[in-house]
Amino acid sequence: MSAPDQYPSTWRRPPQIVTDRRWRLALQIGIVVYLVLAIGSVEVNWSRVYEGLERGQRFIMGFLQPDFASRWRDISQGLVESLTMTLTSTVVGVAISVPIGIGAARNLAPRWIYYICRAIIAVSRALQEIIIAIFFVAMFGFGPFAGFLTLSFATIGFIAKLLADDIEEIDETQAEAIRSTGASWWQLVNYAVQPQVMPRLIGLSLYRLDINFRESAVIGIVGAGGIGATLNTAIDRYEYDSAGAILLIIIAIVMVAEYSSSYLRKFLQ
């Protein structure tokens, strides 16, 4: 140890992630160039935006003073469609997901079944709900039935994937113990796998119920029924107070669903 002035008087924080100076510079320049190009490509019609401010204000007012009454018939119709769609699609989706999920678990299914099930999951996950809804509406006509099919299909990708991953991660020793008793494949699933993944399956289903409701509010925009169609009409007609009411209802239902599903999960475990 020597006198303080023997030591360097400056210190710079060493870079943590990209340590090479040239790479860092290139990266920084790259980011700046991208941002300039990206922001430059956004054409904004400012006079239109300015006009819109007044509408925005009206929308916020509509949100603060929602009008539930004047379109109540449409709103209640949309809500009933959304809620029934949510429930039926979750039930059907989960029911279909269970065999697919088991089939997509490497430790339970033969190779060829595994690949088929994983392919179904991949397709379901890759496509947006909205895009699926467009196709189903084109095939099955407008209305909640197309929405029900859309949400069921989307549920399969979600539940089956997580279920399969869960089954693949089960405690192998328990499965081995059951297998060593001479149990058949069905008994194995029933005794070794089911108890381990059941709580999580219930949790996932409740979570998916929540997601399906949120999605049901969207797919109506392309004609698949539900509250989304009502909302779309309200916005098209510039009835912001009705739109505000619908949004508030959606938020409230999501909050209730989130709260009660966490309660239910605690209760079931």
């Binding site: 140890m1 020597s2 303080p4 002035d5 400056t10 210190w11 924080r13």
Partner: protein, 273 residues
């Protein structure tokens, strides 16, 4: 230098953790605080720099009573008190140098600390301290890349960077192996001697306390039951301090530690103001 007068602390749960502690520490003295877990050692040390708010009593640092100071004044006074923690409490994801420089936070304006542009004197001093604790070559390493003993050395350098007039040391060796423990204790006592720094050291290891401390205070259930030199610490005085160490006491200890931490956490709510 430091005078505690009638210091008491009762937690929200109603447990009295400290009752009527009066103590004075002169300049340059290293005081070891021993006692069973749950005796109030952690609470006592945290009441001094008000990481835990004392219920009543006075904490006189020089001429200033720390109890009842406003938030800004308290910050100014905290600069004078360096603290070294159990399990180091370094900011794991910052570099060693940043950890040492964080000891200067009370002295520099926000923009300097934010830009990491500390005054040249602070940086030289930080390097000097790192050299003193033998970690000059680790300045640019991240704190979570160091071993336990090295981390505690950084903790010491951080406390010293404050230019403190008093050191509070909370179980400095609790998570270290015996050999490293001795090295850390030696370093601490040497540094205190070099600067004539008074220190209060919480320590659960009695032999270690006897080896390194000049004065020992025994706490039991929040009260001072022994105050003397290490060689006055006999078998019988140890029994008065520790009693028959049973599980009940140990559990209470954990609880007290948790309460102290919980309260410190609550007080973090004041942060963003």
């Amino acid at each position: 230098m430091l005078k505690l007068e009638g210091l008491s602390k009762t937690y929200k749960t109603g447990d009295p953790a400290l009752s009527d502690v009066t103590l004075s520490v002169p300049k340059g003295q290293i005081l070891g605080l021993i006692g069973p877990s749950g005796a109030g050692k952690s609470t006592l040390i945290r009441c001094i720099n008000r990481l835990v708010e004392p219920t009543s009593g006075k904490v006189m640092l020089g001429d200033v009573n720390l109890v009842g100071l406003s938030k800004a004044d308290l910050r100014r006074q905290r600069r004078r008190i360096g603290m070294i923690f159990q399990e180091y409490a370094l900011v794991e994801r910052l570099t060693v140098m940043e950890n040492v420089l964080s000891g200067r936070l009370g002295y520099v304006p926000f923009w300097r600390s934010f830009m990491r542009k500390y005054p040249a004197a602070d940086i030289q001093r930080a390097y000097q301290l790192l050299d003193r604790v033998g970690l000059l070559d680790k300045a640019d390493n991240r704190a979570d890349a160091l071993s336990g003993g090295q981390r505690q050395r950084v903790g010491i350098a951080r406390a010293l960077a404050q230019d403190p007039e008093l050191l509070l040391v909370d179980e400095p060796t609790a998570s270290l192996d015996p050999k490293t423990s001795r090295q850390i204790m030696r370093l601490l006592t040497e540094i205190c001697a070099e600067r004539g720094l008074p220190a209060i050291v919480n320590i659960h290891d009695v032999p270690l306390a006897q080896q390194f401390m000049q004065r020992i205070v025994g706490l039991r259930a929040g009260r001072v039951v022994f105050d003397g030199t290490p060689d006055q610490l006999t078998e019988s005085t140890l029994t008065t301090i520790y009693g028959e160490e049973d599980w009940h006491e140990m559990r209470r200890g954990d609880q007290e530690q948790q309460e102290a931490e919980a309260e410190a956490r609550d007080r973090m709510a004041a942060l963003a103001k």
